[in-house]
């Protein structure tokens, strides 16, 4: 009976986290289109509900009632598994995101590694979808996308090392608490910029949305998908974007900490600060989508391997040297 109550408690906690995340994902699709429209002097979705807020709900309803078409020559099991993988991986990562001092589902020691591992698994949904469709455009899109995601993961990993050098722990709550005096965005500003751009590439957002470059590849790996399965890819993608924003705000913007230690600011509860920061980063993502034209593929690879990777490695050396010279290392040897 006792173990049952524990199980029930955990399920309750998980639902309490997942349902807001899913609702936020739906709202953020609306926000993305809205920001995009405002930059281009359009109105954006403004018909369904107040300010068009219910647009995503209408879209979801449309997708649910559409027929799911599975191509005859596709590999059916993997074809169906692909969107499920994308969606699941985008959601399980939220287990370790700390929303406050004790507001975290699983406070594990290697939280940041877990986040990194889950975000690097995200490539499988795309490869599986592209291969199982058994069609040329999805396959080419999947290959492009996989190469792109693997390349940019490397520099994200090195950037994480930069932050970890300053923290001395892999626990996400420790990372947040280490920024009590100064957010890491100040001393590690170049790394923040590189992280932001790599996150754009990692989530296949414009200007790096080559996997679904509609001018060349129809819709990339999603070409053969329809109905709810397409919607799951789509939601998974946005959940991933949200996750990268959360990761950026935890690593560089002080997570759930208030910007200044003032009574008025710390009056607002910790989770809201994290949500504000995630939204801020997301609006930046949306602005980039509206402003910047698409990269050429060879430029993208060159940027990842020949500019970002060396830069972030050099910055690791600089950070380590600085910390060692001024005896600021967080863990005493």
């Amino acid at each position: 009976m006792n173990s049952f109550s524990i199980l029930f408690n955990e399920v309750y906690k998980i639902l309490f986290l997942l349902i807001p995340v899913l609702v936020t994902v739906a709202m953020i699709v609306w926000l993305d289109r809205r920001v995009w429209a405002f930059v281009q002097k359009r109105r954006g979705p403004n018909v369904v509900g107040p300010f068009g807020l219910l647009q995503s709900l209408a879209d979801a309803l449309k997708y649910i009632f559409k027929e799911i078409i599975i191509p005859a020559s596709s590999n059916k099991v993997i074809f169906i598994l692909a969107p499920i993988t994308t969606m699941t991986l985008a959601l399980i990562a939220w287990a370790v995101i700390p929303f406050g001092e004790n507001l975290v589902l699983a406070d594990i020691n290697v939280g940041i590694l877990y986040l990194f591992a889950v975000s690097s698994l995200g490539v499988y949904g795309i490869i599986m979808g592209g291969w199982a469709s058994n069609s040329k455009y999805p396959f080419l899109g999947a290959i492009r996308s996989a190469a792109q995601m693997v390349s940019y993961e490397v520099s994200i990993g090195v950037i994480i090392i930069n932050v970890l050098l300053c923290v001395g722990s892999l626990n996400l709550n420790d990372i947040v608490l280490a920024q009590k005096n100064m957010w890491f965005v100040v001393p590690l500003f170049p790394m923040f910029v590189i992280f932001f751009i790599s996150a754009l590439a990692e989530t296949n957002r414009p200007p790096f949305d080559l996997p679904e470059a509609e001018a060349e590849l129809v819709a990339g790996y999603q070409t053969e998908y329809s109905g709810m399965m397409y919607a799951m890819f789509w939601l998974g993608e946005y959940a991933n974007i949200l996750l990268m924003c959360a990761m950026g705000s935890i690593l560089f913007l002080g997570g759930w900490l208030a910007p200044l230690e003032i009574e008025v600011l710390s009056f607002i509860p910790a989770p809201f600060w994290l949500i504000f920061k995630i939204l801020f980063l997301f609006i930046l993502f949306a602005l980039v989508k509206a402003i910047v034209p698409r990269y050429r593929y060879d430029q993208l690879m060159k940027l990842g391997w020949k500019i970002f990777l060396p830069l972030s490695i050099i910055w690791v050396v600089i950070t380590a040297g600085y910390l060692l010279y001024f005896n600021l290392l967080p863990v005493q040897l």
């Binding site: 173990s3 590999n75 993997i78 594990i108 020691n109 290697v110 590694l113 877990y114 990194f116 591992a117 690097s120 698994l121 490539v123 499988y124 490869i127 599986m128 291969w131 396959f139 290959i143 996989a146 693997v150 993961e153 990993g157 892999l170 060879d298 430029q299 863990v331």
Partner: protein, 210 residues
């Protein structure tokens, strides 16, 4: 405790079944997917025995990077067709003995590993590394890896670097007459470089050299 046992047997079962399916699956891409499932369940087992760092690194390195490359190669090469051709043609005979030899060696090594299990307590006692419950797994690994075994650690890194450079050298081909794009040239190109206004004499024309 019973939950622990349930999870252990679950992951162990998945690991063994997927390891068998890697060799048994007809479709090569399916066997790579089973390999990935195997990696994931083994990293879960690592995490269950408290080696959380190893488990996560296993996920990041093997599943996140190595298996993706496997998948790439297998998808691109159409291995299934080649496999059938190999076994059908008479020229293939040189591959099968080599493969058999390697698998025999691995088989005997596995037997030796299981036999060595008997000496495990002695080995654990002879080790100078203390397992403490207060420091995290990552800290204790770092403490050993960057102090006592720093040279071995560095050497293994060097070997990986050499392998990487070797792979690049083997595949890098410089062909003559290859046109390359240079950003610096593209960006620093001014109007004056591209456009030239020429006064064309009547009935004579100009010679444009390209």
């Amino acid at each position: 405790m019973i939950a622990h046992a349930v999870f252990f047997y679950l992951f162990a079962f998945i690991a063994i079944v997927s390891a068998i399916m890697v060799t048994a699956a007809r479709n090569t891409v399916h066997s790579v997917f089973f390999l990935i499932l195997d990696f994931i369940s083994i990293s879960c087992l690592f995490i269950m025995i408290g080696a959380e760092f190893l488990g996560m690194i296993m996920l990041i390195v093997y599943v996140g990077a190595v298996a993706v490359l496997f998948l790439f190669v297998v998808m691109m090469l159409n291995v299934a067709q080649q496999k059938n051709q190999w076994f059908a043609s008479s020229k293939s005979s040189s591959h099968i003995p080599a493969g058999l030899l390697v698998s025999l060696i691995i088989f005997f090594e596995l037997i030796i590993v299981i036999g060595g299990w008997k000496y495990k307590p002695d080995l654990l006692n002879s080790s100078t590394i203390l397992i403490s419950n207060t420091t995290t797994n990552t800290h204790s690994l770092g403490n050993v890896l960057y102090t006592d075994y720093i040279h071995l650690f560095q050497i293994s890194g060097m070997i990986l670097l050499v392998a990487m450079i070797g792979a690049i050298v083997l595949t890098f081909r410089q062909r003559a007459g290859l046109k390359k794009q240079s950003y610096i040239k593209q960006i620093s190109r001014e109007r004056a470089d591209g456009v030239e206004v020429v006064n064309v004499p009547k009935n004579k024309g100009v010679k444009i050299d390209v």
